[in-house]
Structures are given as structure tokens and as C-alpha cells.
């Protein structure tokens, strides 16, 4: 059976993805940069940008303010005076960019559509063609339910789930993980921009940048034991992911401090913030502290007291992974506000 399935899948994809196949290996130079372990003395830059008026007078995020918030965060991160300068440090014209959103929480608690639209706008202003951008998650129907407009083909930003194209047939491995990776990532992407949501997670403690990569593999259900440790770290070490992951923009416009990862309005709050970094470990550590502060404010016990310490964050920083730092002394954290 296996053999038959593989042949069918291959034939199917050969016809469909011929144009994309040449890009399967991505950009050699940037891959090499991304794969290089971080020097021990290097500090990770992280920006938390907030806008108290992000929603104007309504409940939804105002698109113009979302763009301004993104610009403020990126310009602080990249120390650039113009948004386009920031994005040119991330992507180059001609590259294919995949934006991994998180659509699990429905309309209430998923990657914000206005924020993602702002990212697409800035990518295009940096010279990336609209049709070379794909917004994706695991499942198209979930994305649609969240508010993303599904698009495929034509000169427009693409938007669909891995269910439309499937996963690679071969296994990718690192440590505890053996997984098939989304073909969107392997065949349509040189640069991966990760847009997770900041959430409490009943098993893992919290979910943000690292755990959002579960939506890129075929067997996330096998990676949940032991509070996702070391799985969440190992998934991010898969070559297909690590070589492409360039930037993490964590959506904390609406976040949740309890009862996650599903949306429960009583535990959600409008932080009206974005956390932006190239270091997913620093980002997750910082997001975790934000959730702990909110829990304390609401009179809840710490995640550690509940036996839900997100230990995979420390694992991601260890010598076997070196995906970033969880040591605040090695982070340069900038907290900024949109005027």
C-alpha cells in the first residue's frame, strides 16, 4: 500500500509543482546563516510593541493601526528608519515567503487577519511578488473559519492549508521527532515567517513561536506527551524548518492566560501587542512571563505551581538545540508603544 500511495502522490505533484520544484532547496546563503549556531556572546533582540488604540472605538483591529504597530515593532527590531529597510533585511525580491499562522482558535484567538495583511503588504513593498507569498496553516477550512480569505493561483497572495497539497512522503528527523513536513514549506518557501498567537496551553504551559511549528508537521498529536518537551524544541530543529525560519511575529493582540489553547472568552485579554524577534526562544520566554503576569493579576497560580512549566523553552536553548536564549541577561528587550 505504501508504495502505491507514494507513486500516486508523486505523479500528482510532479504535474502541479513543476514550477516550484526548483525552489525546493531554498536560498543557500540564507539557509547557511539560519543554520549557524548562535555565538555564545550574542544577544537576542526582542521587541514588544503595543498600541492601546489598536481597535479604535470598535472591537476589531484597525488595519491602519495594525500596519503602524507592525512598522513600529520592525523598525525597533531592525534599527531602521523606514519599514522597507527592515523587510529588505529579512527577504529579497524573487524569494518565496510562507507565513505560518495559527488558526486553531477560531475567530476569537487566531493569528489576526489584519496583522497578517500588514505583513503581506510590507513584504510586497520590499519587492516580494504577491504570488510568491503564501499564508498557511494545517487546515484550509480552519483558516477560512478564522477569517482568512482562501486564495490559490493568479497574481495574488496565496492562502490555503497544507491539506490542499499534503506532506512530504519522507520522514524528517531530529531527536524525539520523526515527521513528514508540509509541502508548502518544502516546495513553496525560501523564507518562513512565523505568526503564532500567545496562549496558555493546558499541556505545554504556553504556546507561542516554538510550538506553532507543530502546524507544519503531519503528526503533531505524537508530540504532546511530557508537556511537549523535548518535542517542541526538536520540531524546530528539523532542517526544513530551521533553515527557513527567519522571523517570528507573535500576535498578542488578543492573548489568553488560562484554558488554552482553545478560545474561551473569559480567559482572553486584549494585550494589543506584537512580540517580534528572530529568536523564538527569547520570544517564548518573554511571552511566558507576560502570561504569568496576567495570571497573577487574575489571582491564578503560576504555571509551575500547576505542574505546567513550559520546559521545552529551556530545552530549545540547551547545547543540543541552540535555537535561541531563555536567559533574560542575553536578551535586548525593547518595549515600545505606538503614539
Amino acid at each position: 500500500m505504501r508504495k502505491g500511495h507514494l507513486e500516486n502522490r508523486r505523479e500528482f505533484l510532479t504535474g502541479c509543482l513543476a514550477g516550484a520544484a526548483a525552489l525546493a532547496c531554498g536560498d543557500g546563503l540564507l539557509q547557511a546563516e539560519a543554520l549557524r549556531p548562535q555565538p555564545r556572546e550574542a544577544k537576542s533582540k526582542l521587541v514588544v510593541a503595543r498600541d492601546a488604540l489598536l481597535r479604535g472605538s470598535g472591537t476589531g483591529v484597525d488595519p491602519a493601526r495594525a500596519l503602524a504597530l507592525l512598522d513600529r515593532a520592525m523598525q525597533t527590531l531592525c534599527a531602521e528608519s523606514e519599514p522597507v529597510g527592515c523587510w529588505r533585511k529579512i527577504v529579497r525580491p524573487g524569494q518565496r515567503v510562507a507565513i505560518k499562522v495559527n488558526a486553531l482558535g477560531g475567530r476569537g484567538l487566531s493569528s489576526n487577519v489584519q496583522v497578517v495583511d500588514a505583513i503581506c503588504e510590507r513584504l510586497q513593498s520590499a519587492g516580494v511578488r504577491a504570488q510568491d507569498i503564501v499564508i498557511f496553516d494545517r487546515d484550509t477550512a480552519e483558516m477560512e473559519h478564522t477569517g482568512f480569505r482562501i486564495r490559490a493561483g493568479g497574481n495574488q497572495v496565496q492562502c490555503f492549508g497544507t491539506d490542499r497539497v499534503g506532506y512530504e512522503d519522507t520522514l524528517s528527523r531530529f531527536g524525539s521527532v520523526g515527521s513528514r513536513v508540509s509541502k508548502i514549506l518544502t516546495r513553496q518557501c525560501d523564507v518562513l515567517i512565523n505568526v503564532p498567537v500567545l496562549k496558555d496551553h493546558d499541556g505545554a504551559g504556553i504556546t507561542a513561536a516554538l510550538k506553532n511549528m507543530y502546524g507544519v508537521i503531519h503528526n503533531p498529536n505524537k508530540c504532546h506527551p511530557n508537556g511537549c518537551n523535548p518535542y517542541a524544541a526538536d520540531v524546530n530543529m528539523l532542517a526544513e524548518i530551521r533553515s527557513r525560519a527567519r522571523l517570528h511575529i507573535c500576535d498578542a493582540t488578543t492573548a489568553c492566560y488560562e484554558g488554552g489553547p482553545g478560545f474561551k472568552p473569559q480567559f482572553a485579554w486584549h494585550e494589543n501587542a506584537l512580540l517580534v524577534s528572530a529568536d523564538p526562544v527569547a520570544l517564548d520566554h518573554t511571552g511566558w512571563q507576560m502570561i504569568e503576569r496576567k495570571r497573577a493579576e487574575k489571582g491564578l497560580s503560576t504555571l509551575e505551581a500547576e505542574g505546567r512549566t513550559p520546559r521545552y523553552i529551556a530545552t530549545a536553548a540547551d547545547a543540543a538545540h541552540r535555537l535561541g536564549t531563555n536567559d533574560p541577561r542575553r536578551m535586548i528587550l525593547s518595549e515600545v508603544r505606538v503614539a
Binding site: 500500500m1 500511495h5 484550509t140 477550512a141 491539506d163 497539497v165 520523526g178 503528526n219 498529536n221 482553545g262
Partner: protein, 379 residues
């Protein structure tokens, strides 16, 4: 054990005149990637064996893992999903592999020798054995593998039309599709077709007693006799599997045990001795035990094929511990595939590969010395 590909499956079904009832979810290449996701509502059914928790969470009580699953999430097996606080199986009648196999392929050697089993599987498994030969279905979520809608009555009809006295739930892990297994067993029994489960035995007691009560025989894969192996190689636990074997014994369910011998990981003399001693003490010496040969696959590709001499050593140790029916599997032509009378040592069932060349057991006994041979035999 390799299930057939979908084309062969469809041919098989077509030859049985049933192709009209089978739908295919393959998407036309021309439509890629804008095709809509197939509606999975016909495969969805409220699960058995779970408990509702506050905040729309549930606790699954099907297997010892006891996944606590939040809204919109799935359990470890990937085929059961919480939707709004109600737990659903996503694989009822969602058959991703089907084949007509000799019953010897399961293997069940003391159960209707020389007959055929209409064998079906859905996606999913509640463990993650690093040596799995069917990982492409067992370790996938249902929407990731092509499947056909085959409701229980259709399976029973296909089994009957193809002269299969048995439906086998196999290839992946039937425990995770218990609801489908139970309904299909009922449909089969109404049509005079029996059912057998080829399982890892990693179930909770109530689920085992409820679901496998409908089985006419069960084969349990006992992956090792050490908790360390279960933890590191299987992703499960040993004790619940041993408990299941004892429960099946109490239920008087015909049970055979397979032990895949993996070089360097579960092939020590002491482990074989402990295993056989435990079976002898807790289940009796008449339970068939199959030592089968490992082949590199999935995440364990760095180990060699099990030497035949290791399997022979295991067999000798188990027999020395008092087990009467110890077999060597995955080695076609080996004399360890035959069934011998434990009293007069004559060959009663001669096998080559999955083929039964000679079947001498009469009325459940040895025709030479009258020794009773345990099993489920032709009436």
C-alpha cells in the same frame, strides 16, 4: 504485514461487485490546490469511553494514555477529536487499507487454519513504535491518507462475497477505531462472519471488555518484556498490556501473542525467559507465542534483520519454560512455523509462509495420540 494499495483494493471491491458503494477522496490534479476539503461528517461519530470535564475538555478512557483533550484538539492517536466538549471518532467506516489475507498472516495459527480474513484498517495508533512497518497509515491522521467509505454492512457483505469467514481489524491499531470495530463485528456476526482484532493490547479494562467481547479471537503484539523498551521504543507501557492479556484469558477469548525480536533491544535470554515464565504462570502453557523477525523500517533503520538463530534461541528458551506452542515468524520455510503435537511431537499443521500445506487436527485433537490441541478449529 503490508496492506494493499488503493487501486488493488478498488479492483478487489469491483470484482466483488461493490465498487458502486466505494467513494474515493482523491482530488483531481487540475483542481489543485483550490479543491475543497472533503466533508468528513459521514466518518464522524460520538466516541465511546470518555468523560466530560469542565471548560469543554474531555478525558479519553479508551486507552491507558488517558489523554485530556481540549476543545478542537485531538488525542495522541490523532483520530479522536474534541468538538465543543463532545468527543468524536473521525474514522468510523473510514477504511484506508483493505485486503484479503490468509489468517496465517495475522498471524493466528490456532484459528481456522487455511482460511481468509477480510482485513481492514483506519489511520491512527495509540503508540509510536519506532519499527512500525505501516507507519504511513498508523502514524497519520485520517485526513492525510486516502480512504474509502466502507460502512460495517458493506464490509460484512464484501467478506461474505469473497469467502472470508473472518473480518480482521489490523495493520494499524484497532483499539483506536473501537466504535467502528464493534459495529462491524455486529454486522459480520449477523451475516455469519467472525471478527478478530490484531492489537497492541494497550486498552483500558472497560474498553477492552466491551470492544473485544465482540471478537472471536485476538492477537496481541507484546512488544517486549521490559518497561524500558515500551517507554523508549514503543511510547507506551508494559503493564496495561499484560493486564489486557490476563483479562482476555478471563474472558475466554482465544488469544495468540506475537513478540517481534529486535536485535540488541529485546533479544536477551533473560528477557525471553521472563516473558515465557510470565505467560506460563498467568495465561498457561497453551497460549501460542510467535517470535517474529524484525526488518529495519520507519525510525529503526540502523539495526540488522533478526538472525534466525536468535529466533531459534528464543523458541528453545520459551519451550524450556513450559510453553507448548512456540512459533518462528517471518521466516518462510522454517520448521518453526509448523504446529506440533506437544505429546507425540508429530506435525499437525504444516505451513510454508502463509500457506497451510497440511492440516491434520481433527475435532480439536491430534489424530495420532488424541491430545487436545487448543484453538478455534473448523467445525
Amino acid at each position: 504485514m503490508q496492506p494493499i494499495d488503493r487501486r488493488s483494493f478498488l479492483l478487489c471491491a469491483a470484482s466483488a461487485g461493490m465498487v458502486g458503494s466505494i467513494r474515493c477522496r482523491a482530488v483531481s490534479p487540475a483542481a489543485w490546490p483550490a479543491a475543497a476539503s472533503p466533508d468528513d461528517s459521514r466518518y464522524r461519530k460520538e466516541a465511546l469511553f470518555y468523560q466530560k470535564l469542565p471548560n469543554r475538555r474531555i478525558k479519553c478512557k479508551l486507552c491507558p494514555r488517558e489523554c485530556i483533550v481540549g476543545d478542537k484538539e485531538r488525542g495522541y492517536c490523532g483520530v479522536r477529536e474534541n468538538r465543543g466538549g463532545t468527543y468524536y471518532t473521525l474514522v468510523h467506516s473510514r477504511v484506508c487499507a483493505a485486503h484479503i489475507d490468509p489468517i496465517e498472516k495475522k498471524p493466528l495459527f490456532h484459528y481456522l487454519p487455511g482460511t481468509l480474513a477480510f482485513s481492514v484498517a483506519t489511520a491512527g495508533c495509540n503508540v509510536d513504535c519506532k519499527f512500525c512497518q505501516n507507519w504511513d497509515i498508523s502514524q497519520s491522521r485520517p485526513e492525510q491518507v486516502p480512504a474509502n467509505y466502507l460502512p460495517p454492512q458493506t464490509i460484512a457483505a464484501l467478506a461474505a462475497q469473497n469467502r472470508c469467514p473472518t473480518i480482521a481489524y489490523t495493520y494499524s491499531e484497532p483499539a483506536v477505531f473501537s466504535e467502528f470495530l464493534m459495529d462491524t463485528a455486529d454486522a459480520g456476526h449477523q451475516a455469519g462472519i467472525r471478527s478478530v482484532a490484531i492489537s497492541n493490547g494497550y486498552l483500558q479494562d472497560e474498553a477492552l471488555r466491551t470492544a473485544y467481547a465482540k471478537m472471536d479471537a485476538v492477537k496481541i503484539d507484546l512488544k517486549a518484556f521490559s518497561q524500558a523498551f515500551y517507554r523508549d521504543v514503543v511510547g507506551g507501557e508494559l503493564k496495561p498490556v499484560l493486564d489486557s492479556l490476563v483479562t482476555l484469558r478471563k474472558m475466554n477469548k482465544w488469544t495468540e501473542i506475537v513478540y517481534l525480536v529486535v536485535p540488541t533491544l529485546n533479544d536477551g535470554d533473560q528477557e525471553f525467559r521472563s516473558l515465557a515464565g510470565w505467560i506460563r504462570t498467568n495465561l498457561g502453557g497453551e497460549v501460542p507465542l510467535h517470535f517474529t523477525q524484525f526488518h529495519p523500517d520507519y525510525l529503526l533503520r540502523n539495526l540488522p534483520i533478526t538472525p534466525v538463530s536468535t529466533l531459534e534461541r528464543a523458541k528453545a528458551i520459551a519451550e524450556g519454560e513450559g510453553l507448548h506452542y512456540v512459533y518462528i515468524g517471518n521466516v518462510p520455510g522454517h520448521p518453526g512455523q509448523h504446529t506440533y503435537c506437544p505429546r507425540c511431537r508429530k506435525v499437525l499443521v504444516a505451513r510454508t509462509g502463509f500457506e497451510v500445506r497440511q492440516m491434520l487436527i481433527q475435532k480439536g485433537g491430534c489424530p495420532f495420540c488424541g491430545q487436545r490441541i487448543p484453538g478455534v478449529w473448523h467445525s
